[in-house]
């Protein structure tokens, strides 16, 4: 074994200078270095989109066989579903309300953790738990906590006299959405806090001190010093959170598991149910997926505009 390794090393050393000097165009070299990642991304991200589009234009029978081209029939069927508009509205309000709350709460927690006080490090670490833990398992924990008969939430709220009788949090139409938003916020605030904290810590101490010496009050410091420094971090966290929440299938899948109908579904769970759970119509589900891909394309554009990664590259 050892001998073999030693031999190889000597061998490569001997021949490498020549090999590395072979003339290639920069693009050809780029292809060698970037090729493997390109193949991976094309195969797993781009090609499935192609298949989705193709599937959405075909009729797929119950056993998954492709029965050929049907034009836009799947889209017509999808767009005639009375559930589609509520599902899209649920999705939009879920993402918008959650992101707003996440940014506000994340900002306060980040400000807090930017102060000096005992156990600060321990609290930072506690925040890692909801971030690191699988969203699926966290969602199941909340499902249990929300449970009408067995959950801890009802007795606690009753003991605090906040509610007079138990509430079926996930089964009542009026309380489902707030309950979902709470879990969404819970799992997203840690990441947001970390990003905003990085932003806060990027503000040079002298700048803050200068502002205070100049007689700026707390709100003025926040408005004229902190916010401008924080703006790129806020943009990043908001966009990444929005993308992440839209894609956060397990949250709704688990919390909505006992509810019939589609009235609490979001874009991804609706698509999934159409394909695998209830309607068993791959064609229509693929059409819904294409709708989802178009929504995500908007996110790609947003990402590019807000974050301008190539500018950073150039810097």
């Amino acid at each position: 074994m050892t001998r073999f390794v030693a031999d190889t090393r000597r061998d490569t050393k001997a021949r490498s200078p020549r090999l590395s000097r072979v003339r290639r165009s920069p693009e050809a070299r780029a292809l060698i270095w970037l090729g493997p990642s390109l193949i991976l991304i094309l195969g797993v991200v781009v090609y499935p989109i192609v298949i989705l589009v193709q599937t959405s234009l075909d009729r797929i029978n119950l056993t998954g066989l492709d029965k050929g081209f049907v034009g836009f029939a799947n889209f017509q069927k999808l767009f005639s579903q009375p559930d589609l508009v509520p599902v899209l509205w649920n999705t939009a309000s879920w993402v918008a309300v959650s992101v707003t709350l996440i940014m506000v709460l994340g900002f306060f927690v980040a400000e807090l953790l930017n102060q000096r006080f005992p156990f600060r490090k321990a609290i930072r670490l506690a925040l890692l738990v909801p971030w690191a833990a699988s969203v699926l398992m966290t969602a199941m924990g909340f499902r249990w906590i929300y449970s009408f008969y067995y959950g801890a939430l009802n007795p606690v709220l009753q003991a605090l006299h906040l509610i007079s009788s138990p509430v079926d949090w996930l089964g009542t139409d009026a309380t489902f959405f707030p309950s979902l938003v709470i879990v969404t916020v819970f799992v997203s605030v840690p990441f947001t806090t970390y990003v905003l904290l990085a932003g806060l810590q990027s503000i040079p101490g002298e700048v803050l001190e200068a502002a205070v010496i100049d007689g700026a009050g707390r709100t003025q410091v926040a408005r004229f010093v902190t916010l401008p420094f924080l703006r790129p971090y806020i943009g990043l966290a908001a966009v990444l959170n929005a993308i992440w929440i839209f894609n956060s299938f397990p949250l709704v899948y688990i919390l909505n598991k006992s509810n019939p109908g589609y009235s609490h579904d979001v874009a991804l769970t609706y698509m999934y149910k159409l394909a695998f759970d209830t309607a068993l119509d791959m064609g229509e589900a693929a059409a819904m997926s294409v709708v989802n891909v178009m929504i995500l394309t908007v996110f790609v554009i947003l990402y590019m505009r807000v974050l301008r990664p190539e500018d950073a590259e150039a810097a």
Binding site: S16, P17, L19, S20, P26, R29, A30, W33, L34, P36, S37, I39, I41, G43, V44, V45, Y47, P48, I51, T55, L112, Q115, R116, F117, F119, A122, I123, A126, L128, V129, A132, A133, S134, L136, M137, M140, G141, W144, Y149, Y150, G151, A152, P155, F191, V195, A198, G199, L208, F246, N247, P250, A275, V300, Y303, L307, R308, P309, A312, E313, A315
Partner: protein, 275 residues
């Protein structure tokens, strides 16, 4: 800036509330896992277990094929971590060192992997796998896990490589090393913290992946932890103590790993956009 003792106390109090809220659901999971199957269904529920019963953390290994789930998760998470490093390191290095035409398109593709999660493409993946005969295989999970973590890995490592002065490698090149050798001998060791971070992050992401596994896998002993545990909530007698015992066993290692890379996490997620 100095702050008063009162302010410190106030911050501490607020901090403790934040920490307690962050841990509360997991504490509740722990308390449930320590109850007997009977007590857990008591109405009204008990707050603390009447009889602390930690045996659920042991019996979960036999009540369900938990060891199989864990093995599958380890195979998939390790496999995708190796794969993402194999494709990510050269890509990140090249992006940090060279200019080329098509760079913008490549970056666009990277962003797409960050925006398009497996959940939104799962039907496409599902049909692709059927066509390629990959249904119900580990490869069917390893490949997308690696692909969707590629962006994080490449962004993060790109930052590390960019911060290593090219002059160090030039010395190696003059000594007769190839670009690849210069990378392996000079830059890789220097970028090791980034590589460890990328590896751990990919590992955790794959560890927690759910929707592809739910759709692609059907064989019981190939199922990863996420799918196996989610099925407690399905056709079985719903066994909350075991469900949460299993969940906590699955959560603890990733939290520890996350704590290890804590200081680099934000770099990877914000690199390429916030400087």
């Amino acid at each position: 800036m100095r702050q008063s003792r009162r302010a410190t106390l106030l911050f501490l109090l607020a901090g403790l509330v934040v920490g307690a809220l962050a841990l509360a659901p997991y504490l509740q999971m722990f308390l449930t896992a320590a109850k007997t199957a009977n007590e857990v269904q008591a109405i009204p529920p008990t707050l603390l277990p009447e009889h602390w019963d930690f045996s659920n953390f042991l019996t979960v290994w036999t009540a369900v094929p938990f060891a199989d789930y864990l093995r599958s998760t380890l195979i998939v998470a390790s496999g995708s971590t190796v794969l993402v490093l194999l494709v990510g390191i050269p890509a990140a290095y090249y992006l940090a060192r060279f200019r080329f035409r098509g760079r913008r398109i490549y970056l666009l593709l990277m962003i797409m992997t960050q925006v398009f999660a497996p959940a939104s493409l799962v039907i496409g993946l599902f049909r692709e796998y059927i066509a390629f005969g990959l249904i119900d295989s580990y490869a069917a999970l390893i490949i997308p896990d690696a692909a969707f973590n590629a962006a994080f890995t490449i962004w993060l490592l790109h930052g590390f490589f960019a911060s290593i002065p090219p002059s160090l490698e030039e010395a190696a090149l003059i000594d007769g090393c190839s670009t690849l050798q210069a990378l392996v001998r000079v830059s890789l060791p220097l970028a090791m913290p980034g590589i460890v971070t990328a590896a751990i992050y990919s590992f955790i992401a794959a560890w927690n992946e759910f929707v592809v596994a739910l759709t692609i896998l059907s064989t019981e002993d190939k199922k990863p932890l996420t799918v196996g545990i989610s099925e407690f909530l399905g056709q079985f007698n719903v066994d909350w103590p075991h469900l949460f015992a299993g969940s906590l066993i699955a959560i603890v290692p990733v939290v520890i790993l996350f704590a290890v890379i804590e200081r680099y996490l934000v770099n990877g997620l914000t690199a390429g956009s916030v400087k």
